[in-house]
């Protein structure tokens, strides 16, 4: 049953991607619509702060981690043997 639904989603990849993009836009609009007066912390006063943080943070994390790994951290698996 689980496999059936997953395969169904995989067959309709285009539709799925469209729904997800719509969801992301809705999320940003939802954040902008939130009342800024009740904000507990000052970061909550920025519009869509965590959207920008998520995109930039994730991008940097992948780039830096993979970069350093390729630079010197990665060794063959029998390095210590």
């Amino acid at each position: 049953m689980i496999v059936y639904y997953i395969d169904l989603l995989r067959k309709n990849m285009k539709g799925l991607v469209r729904v997800l993009i719509f969801y992301l836009i809705a999320l940003v609009i939802f954040d902008i619509s939130l009342s800024r007066h009740e904000a507990h912390y000052f970061i909550d006063k920025f519009y869509a702060f965590w959207t920008v943080f998520g995109i930039v943070g994730c991008f940097l994390l992948i780039k830096i981690a993979k970069g350093i790994a390729h630079e010197f951290l990665s060794q063959n698996e029998d390095f210590y043997e």
């Binding site: 689980i2 496999v3 997953i6 969801y23 992301l24 999320l27 940003v28 939802f30 954040d31 939130l34 009740e38 904000a39 507990h40 912390y41 970061i43 909550d44 869509a48 965590w50 959207t51 943080f53 998520g54 995109i55 943070g57 994730c58 991008f59 994390l61 992948i62 830096i64 981690a65 993979k66 790994a69 010197f72 951290l73 990665s74 060794q75 063959n76 698996e77 390095f79 210590y80």
Partner: protein, 589 residues
């Protein structure tokens, strides 16, 4: 003792000893009965101090029961039950016995009221858990187990030194909260010993070294108890230590950094423990009531979902024979239930609304924000991105979806599925009814995770991390590599020593051998010449008897030529003195 109290560790210690008596179904029943009884025991406990005995000129306390020790006792006993269910199919008694001693000693450590008792259980933990690595019975595991043990013995010694100095300083062994202002060498040594078990960087490398080499079932136990016992003792002894706030936050980022680049599923998860324990250590370091609450809540939630993730990765390893992402892919078709349970663990750890991480991690992050520690808060949220990226997306995608691999496994045995199902249910229940968890915390909770701002914050972070993942997924393809870490200083040390041995010592050795040979042989030849000359002289001379004697000795020397350098040298010396004596005697005569 003010009322009747039974130490829950007793169930595990006694259970471990009587376990080999049982066979078949009875054994499985006993395996589940032990943790079930201990859960009931914890449920019936009332707060107070029990089991205090005079020992030498100290007082040892086995049962300090308060809200802080109780919350850990709850999750430890629940986890022991889930772990036992997952390991029910294991045939070796020794594996179950090691597991029982490990859980029992962890419970002993969290109820200990003094350093002596704590140290006793602390060491039993290290020596019992190492068997969960060794029972894998592979060369790598045996080596990793020895390293694990040595590092923990080192940590134990730091603790012991600190404990002794503390006794000389204060005259007491009672284990209580230490104020940062009063901390000296003794306290910091104890802190270092505790930190090693909590995998605080740079003392963390034992964890991702040993856990991925443990048995499938052993890793599920190990990921729960060692680090969380350490979080408990840190929360008990060292709240408000600034160094913990900073190192803890550094751990959160450090752990996900490695989790992003690692290839082995269980090594990704092991590095991720460092990240998660980092939140708890940072919570302890921030030290407010809300932060300590957060650390305990996060320890509780973390034990469950991390065990769930290790169960999922362990099931893959158990059924496929490898947990390397580069060799997996498309498993959702063959292990759909494992996939679902793993995903529940992954979204719990990432902090999706309705799952346990959402209600526990956010307490610590919010407390950092509350105290105006903006950088700590931002770095913790960055680690949150890395969490979802590595454990949530990368592992799920490359193991269960992605390119189809050649492996065609099935879902694991029923007991493993049941254990994963129950743990998943607990993650969900805590996420939906956080009050159940908050009621167990040491301080009153004034925190509501389900507010619109928090919801919007988490959904934005997670969703846009997902977006970037799918844009950069090719960059994240797993590679058949290992990554250097702090263990290079002791693993690399052995390697360096071998190199020095190969390059320097062996050269010196052969040089020395050459010298030995040359000098030894030269003296032998010189002696032979001397003896020869003397022999001739004697034959030509007056005393025939002496000549015969020397010839006889020469014959003995020939027989004694065993070909061994030290024998030659020795013989050369003996002959030299003998000849000297004969010559001097002749001169004198």
């Amino acid at each position: 003792m003010n009322s009747w109290w039974l130490h829950p560790a007793l169930f595990f210690f006694v259970g471990a000893l009587i376990l080999p008596v049982f066979k078949g179904k009875a054994k499985k029943f006993v395996l589940l009965l032990i943790p079930a009884l201990s859960i009931a025991d914890v449920a019936l406990m009332t707060q107070g101090v029990y089991g205090s005995y005079p020992f030498l000129n100290l007082t040892v306390t086995f049962g300090r029961v308060d809200k802080l020790s109780l919350v850990f006792a709850w999750v430890f006993t629940i986890m022991a039950f889930l772990g036992a269910l997952y390991a029910l199919h294991v045939k070796e008694d020794g594996h179950h016995i090691a597991g029982s001693f490990y859980v029992g000693s962890s419970l002993g450590a969290i109820f200990a009221g003094d350093y002596v008792t704590l140290f006793l259980f602390w060491e039993i933990m290290a020596f019992s858990s190492v068997f969960l690595v060794w029972y894998r019975k592979e060369q790598r595991s045996i080596e990793a187990g020895y390293r694990y043990l040595l590092v923990h013995v080192f940590g134990g010694l730091l603790f012991l030194m600190g404990m002794m100095l503390y006794y000389f300083k204060t005259g007491t062994m009672t284990f209580n909260t230490i104020l940062p202002a009063n901390a000296g060498v003794a306290e910091y040594l104890i802190l270092a010993g505790f930190s090693l078990n909590a995998a605080v960087i740079p003392l963390h490398a034992w964890l991702p070294d040993a856990y991925p080499e443990a048995t499938v079932e052993g890793a599920v136990f190990m990921c729960a108890f060692t680090t969380k016992t350490a979080v408990y003792v840190l929360a008990r002894g060292f709240p408000g230590f600034e160094i913990l706030a900073i190192l803890g936050t550094a751990m959160t980022v450090y752990g996900v950094f490695y989790a992003v680049i690692e290839n082995d599923m269980r090594r990704v998860l092991a590095y991720h423990i460092i990240s998660q324990v980092g939140y708890m250590v940072a919570g302890v370091g921030i030290g407010t009531e809300m932060a300590i609450n957060g650390a305990c809540a996060h320890a509780f939630a973390h034990i469950l979902y991390k065990a769930l993730l290790f169960m999922g990765a362990g099931s893959v390893l158990y059924m496929v024979g490898t947990a390397k992402l580069s060799k997996l892919g498309g498993l959702y078709k063959y292990m759909p239930l494992t996939m679902v349970f793993y995903v529940v663990g992954a979204i719990s750890i990432s902090g999706f609304p309705l799952f346990s991480g959402f209600v526990s991690k956010s307490m610590i992050v919010a407390s950092a924000h509350h105290e105006g520690r903006l950088w700590l808060m931002l770095l913790m949220n960055l680690a949150g991105i890395g969490t979802f990226l590595s454990v949530g997306l990368k592992v799920t995608y490359f193991a269960f979806f992605g390119k189809e691999s050649e492996v065609r496994p099935k879902d694991p045995p029923k007991n493993m599925l049941w254990a994963m199902g129950l743990t998943s249910a607990l993650c969900f229940i805590i996420g939906v009814c956080p009050r159940l968890l908050y009621a167990l915390l040491p301080f009153p909770v004034d925190y509501q995770p389900y507010n619109l701002h928090h919801l919007s914050e988490m959904l934005q972070i997670l969703s846009f991390t997902g977006l970037v993942f799918f844009l950069l997924v090719a960059k994240l393809a797993p590679e058949d590599k290992m990554n250097l870490d702090m263990d290079i200083f002791y693993r690399g040390g052995a390697w360096l020593f071998m190199k020095i041995d190969e390059k320097v010592i062996s050269v010196l050795d052969s040089l020395w051998g050459e010298l030995y040979r040359t000098a030894g042989l030269a003296s032998l030849f010189a002696n032979a010449r001397l003896a020869n000359g003397f022999d001739k002289g004697v034959i030509d001379g007056v005393v025939d008897g002496s000549a015969t004697t020397v010839r006889g000795i020469g014959g003995v020397v020939r027989k004694l030529q065993t070909g061994r350098m030290q024998a030659y040298i020795g013989l050369a010396l003996v002959m030299f003195f003998l000849i000297l004596w004969l010559l001097l005697g002749r001169m004198g005569g």
